[in-house]
Symmetry: C2
Subunit: 307 residues, 2 copies
């Protein structure tokens, strides 16, 4: 059966400063043609062009926290969206001070965007619903970093049960009863015959989910927010040999990322936000795999289908 | 004779938005190992790494105006300088509101740089001395753009006259007289003999200069500020076919840039700040050369020696 699109494009994997090959944090998530840009480090608009993603299709931008490597690309991206003639509104989910920063820049440069920005500020509550439509729900949840920071959880909504078209013709039931069947109920057809739901329908795909966890110290509570998640991205700025430095700077190691994925019973783990001190990133995978087998590096240009 | 270094590295040639190949405005000028970064569009720190320039050797940053394509790379650059352990002070020459923007960002991200920033605000006066040491003088001068904007003029100082070491031994003069000779004066030696300056010294190299003019509408007065300049960079966002658009947006065409170079009696012209609508830039050179022969495109990675 065809599932709706649910895939993640990595735009940046670096922590702190960009290198020639690695850009700061940014990921583009497509769920059923809703495009969510998650964090927006310097150069994100260049990466979006490089990987031929649809700039103007992005209607939601989520910023985890206000360290520069997570938002210094935003002023340029918004400016380009406006210059290219964007008219449709854009919602930005972020810490409150980001609006002040953008307003200060726009005032200094005498800029008024051609489109409306809807600002929706995140908060510290456990699971905070940010956005919902017919297909998807998006939540923020608290991470533990040097400054206020949230993760983001994206969940597909449950689809109605499937009814086989050929079977349907023989069932002799009303439209109202079709809707009941889709909801999992049994019905009685026009001939007075009981139609058991299981005989007429099949289960829809299990709803999938993606969680974004950057930046954070090792923080077990994250697992409780993202239980049974299909795909989790968890920062791993360091390896275990720099465990003390990770703790001091409120970051995590690859092993700690794997522990959170295990605790959450996630299906798959992505690692990223690598410190520029590491040239060869193979060790990150080796360290994480000792605890959690199904993991990959979230490197620039990679596309991960959520399954 | 060996002249001191005087060369310009182009880091960005694009106007408004970056493309995959072209970055927004940024140029790095090296005069006698003093490094001046002129404008700092998004991704400038990435370009500095790519072209293996010395990030921490930059002690002066000059920002012409507060349109994003001329400063959106600055917050990230400053942040990286600090993260890499910079201690020495940095002077930023810019419009006043830039300090407010950086302060607002640093407050929101709880950031304090490890080094001191000396803010020196430009103003609208004709030729405004920004910096001077034993080797160089730097001035700002007014351009004419949609918002407040200045150009920058860099001038080598005149060197003392050269004295031939072998001749010197025979002259029988005091140290004080050597200094007089270097200043161009005649002297009387220890034997009471008149030493004519021209017989003892040779002329030093003619001081060289570089002018940066971006962004601006065609504005003849610029030529009066940069008379006899060795190398001039003048924006050419458009070609003549978009002359009306250039005027409307307070930008220039390649022909107009060539006219300013001609009026200033410049030795060489560089063109840049190209609109993203132009894929092939050859036409810019053709248009400018019809008026001013010695010109080149200021493309990413190119190094121009000022002669």
């Amino acid at each position: 059966m065809n599932q709706q699109t649910f895939e993640l494009l990595i735009l940046g994997s670096s922590s702190a400063s960009p290198t020639v090959d690695r850009y700061p944090s940014a990921q583009l998530l497509n769920i059923a043609e809703r495009y969510f840009l998650i964090d927006c480090g310097e150069g994100t608009q260049i990466q979006i062009r490089k990987y031929k993603a649809k700039l103007q299709a992005i209607d939601h931008i989520l910023i985890s926290h206000l360290h520069g490597d997570h938002f210094f690309g935003l002023p340029g991206l918004l400016s380009t969206m406006s210059l290219l003639g964007r008219k449709q509104k854009l919602t930005i989910y972020c810490p409150e001070d980001l609006k002040l920063i953008i307003d200060t820049i726009n005032k200094a440069s005498d800029t008024v965007f051609n489109f409306e920005i809807v600002w929706q500020f995140t908060n510290n509550s456990s699971l905070n619903l940010l956005f919902e439509d017919t297909k998807v729900q998006v939540y923020s949840f608290p991470l533990k970093h040097r400054i206020y920071c949230t993760g983001f959880l994206f969940k597909e909504k449950s689809l109605p049960r499937n009814i086989d078209k050929f079977k349907l013709e023989k069932l002799n039931i009303s439209v109202a009863d079709i809707l009941k069947l889709k909801k999992g109920m049994d019905v009685i057809n026009e001939d007075g015959k009981l139609i058991k739901n299981n005989d007429a329908t099949t289960s829809p795909p299990i709803p999938r989910s993606f969680a974004y966890c950057s930046d954070t110290i090792y923080y077990k509570k994250i697992a409780s927010y993202i239980k049974e998640v299909s795909l989790v991205y968890h920062e791993s700025t360091f390896l275990e040999d720099k465990k003390d430095r990770a703790k001091k700077t409120f970051h995590s190691t690859a092993k700690q990322a794997a522990e959170i994925a295990t605790l959450a019973n996630a299906q798959k783990l992505l690692l990223g936000h690598f410190s520029a001190r590491y040239g060869n990133l193979k060790c990150f995978i080796e360290e994480a795999k000792s605890i959690f087998e199904n993991c990959e590096l979230a490197l620039e240009g990679k596309v991960f289908k959520v399954i």
